[in-house]
Symmetry: C2
Subunit: 403 residues, 2 copies
């Protein structure tokens, strides 16, 4: 194409964006290889058959469809009764009341909430503090908005020490002019859960520098063992100074419905709704209804789900440990982020061989920031036996390729 768009030079930030290795984006395998279908293992996202959606979610969808006049269309920020249900429960969950009229918006997935939040807070040329490693979209959205990311390091590789972000580097980012800080908790891809003390440190620095904080807590219901989870919005930060992103796509396996929420500062929620009016109008009217099952799961359902994930986590950690891979045990979420050993092939060649010869897909570490090329991310929300077999094969291949 003879490009005339973006005619004023400079091009679009989209030109620089590479999504070819983003989760789910790998090119389809060749026809020969797709004969392996069913044997394949895709660690780039969870398996909704291994961990099915919340019981009753589909019934809610069906009833919403049948009641089309009420459910097909909603205000852009979401159906009133859905916002009331979610606000009540997210208020309880996070320890800080949520006003269903002014402090919540329902979005097409938590990704939608992240895009709307950052787009509503960040103008071209702004500086934004971002954790590394962290969810790949954070820095990409900042780049798309023609803003400037400032990296704040998360120290997680020494499994013997508590994982911590470097508060000095966060302070430097704020001192350099960052007015927005975005991070995920539990951290994607490492599974790090920030301590109460770390969270207080973040809040104190944000307050001192007048910064707004966006926290992606997508995995905050999947916390292992005795780990304590600290909600940013009830940690002394003003509720007008933060935005919390949540959704039922992961732990609750409702990803195929594409619904998420953001709760926080009313003024920012207003902007997010305006932008949603342009971007997609609303989360699908019928899909919103499944949120009625969220935080209303059967007794014991969530605990069992956490226990099942913990068993898989421990199985896989044992295999990695036996093979000499360095990997931190995730305290929350269903990701782990092992370092690859030194091999006779590049990390990219290793992943290609793993995929073509063993039908195993993993997400490259480089997706989570510069300098993580020798890590891979695995979503272990999978069938336990299949995951064990695949990680054994992965470790076997790596060992074979170790110098």
């Amino acid at each position: 194409m003879h490009t005339t768009a973006n005619s004023r030079g400079g091009g679009s930030p989209l030109d620089e964006l590479d999504i070819s290795s983003a989760p789910g984006q790998e090119n389809p395998l060749s026809p020969v290889l797709t004969d392996r279908a069913g044997e394949e293992m895709d660690f780039s996202h969870g398996d909704v058959e291994a961990f099915p959606p919340i019981p009753g979610a589909f019934d809610r969808y069906q009833r919403a469809y049948a009641d089309g006049r009420r459910f097909a269309y909603s205000r852009y920020r979401g159906h009133v009764e859905i916002r009331e249900h979610v606000a009540l429960h997210v208020g309880d969950f996070t320890g800080q009341r949520v006003d269903p009229a002014t402090e919540i918006i329902v979005t097409p997935g938590t990704q939608g909430a992240l895009f709307l939040a950052l787009s509503s807070l960040v103008a071209p040329g702004d500086k934004v503090a971002i954790v590394a490693p962290d969810y790949f979209a954070n820095s990409r959205i900042v780049a798309y908005l023609r803003a400037q990311p400032i990296s704040v390091t998360l120290n997680y590789e020494d499994a013997a020490s508590p994982a911590e972000i470097d508060l000095d580097s966060l302070e430097s980012a704020f001192a350099a002019g960052a007015k927005v800080f975005v991070f995920s908790n539990p951290n994607n891809p490492t599974g790090v859960v920030y301590s109460a003390e770390q969270t207080r440190g973040i809040v104190a620095l944000a307050a001192e520098h007048g910064a707004f904080v966006v926290v992606d807590q997508l995995y905050s219901r999947l916390i292992y063992g005795a780990t304590e989870f600290t909600h940013l919005r009830s940690s002394g930060i003003g509720t007008d100074r933060c935005m919390t992103l949540l959704g039922p796509s992961k732990t609750e396996s409702l990803s195929g419905f594409r619904v998420g929420v953001a709760v926080g500062a009313p003024e920012v929620i207003d902007r997010m709704e305006k932008l949603q009016a342009l971007v997609s109008l609303r989360a699908a009217g019928y899909s919103q209804a499944v949120l009625k099952t969220w935080f209303a799961e059967p007794e014991g359902w969530l605990d069992e789900r956490i226990q099942q994930h913990q068993l898989i986590r421990d199985d896989l950690l044992a295999i990695f440990a036996a093979s000499g891979f360095a990997v931190r045990s995730p305290a929350g979420g269903s990701y782990m982020f092992p370092n690859l050993p030194q091999m006779s092939v590049s990390a990219e060649e290793f992943r290609t061989t793993l995929r073509v010869e063993h039908g195993i897909t993993v997400t490259p570490g480089a997706e989570f920031g510069a300098g993580y090329e020798h890590s891979i991310r695995l979503n272990f929300s999978q069938q336990r036996d299949k995951a064990v077999e695949a990680v054994s094969a992965l470790c076997g291949l790596a060992t074979k390729l170790t110098r």
Copy 2:
């Protein structure tokens, strides 16, 4: 909130955006008035119970949900088999083949397609030619992108003459530097369908000035009587020079599923997919499956739907004519855009009285451009008798308020 966001001054274009009168956004009626629920008439969008979704659509959804491993996640541009189905049929429909691998993206509603297309084509400071009146989001997205809209007038008010956009003003817009032209066909809100000659005129000017054309053909399957519909993409414009937006939300009543498509220039589709990776990842995985029923409706289903809409259209036109309202007969789509008569109250007061006293909601003309304050838009995809009754009440009120 003490705003620190957008700290570099200038504020966000979102601050200027008013969505309070956008379709579906009206504040809920007071508790007393909501006792009228059921008697209310909302002309701001169609009634999916009066015109139900394509038969079998929900079954497709249910099967996709049951086959979660295949359907929960897709490539950001959409499931392969869905793109193949839609590309084949949209190719037939528009008279120009669509490559399912490179020339189509599935989006969260046609709104999603519009946002992604314009965001992929327009940079800050660019000029964009926009028809007035036209879909309210066109100019709002351009403003959000910090670009400059240049208005091109659609002459539609003289019902005795063919409706035409002023090609001289389009040429002036291109001469002034507009490299993108966006318009809807059938036009929203007037129901004008552009003639083959008009379309050829647009194509010739775009070619001469190297402009890219985005056409929103959301209503292009709902065309009345002998009106001929001309598809832009088969009108001599290079398929790498245009983007056509389509979706099953209107005629086919699948709005509650939030799926739409864009077909066109591969390079722009690539950018749109990259942006979708940031905005919402993908149209809901299960929802995409309902597109298998699109362009595959039961024999005669679409014809009957068109006939039913034509009957309602004609009923309402007769009532407006009898009351002395000026309104052009829509040649396509389910909108009409009457001018209000001169009344003793403002257009806004009229709409408020209509809503509070009669439970009738219409969309203000100002949503479609400056200078249309004395028009209102009605979506007549409604129960026929209810629509007739409501338009009679509307005309009665206007007559009572006429000086």
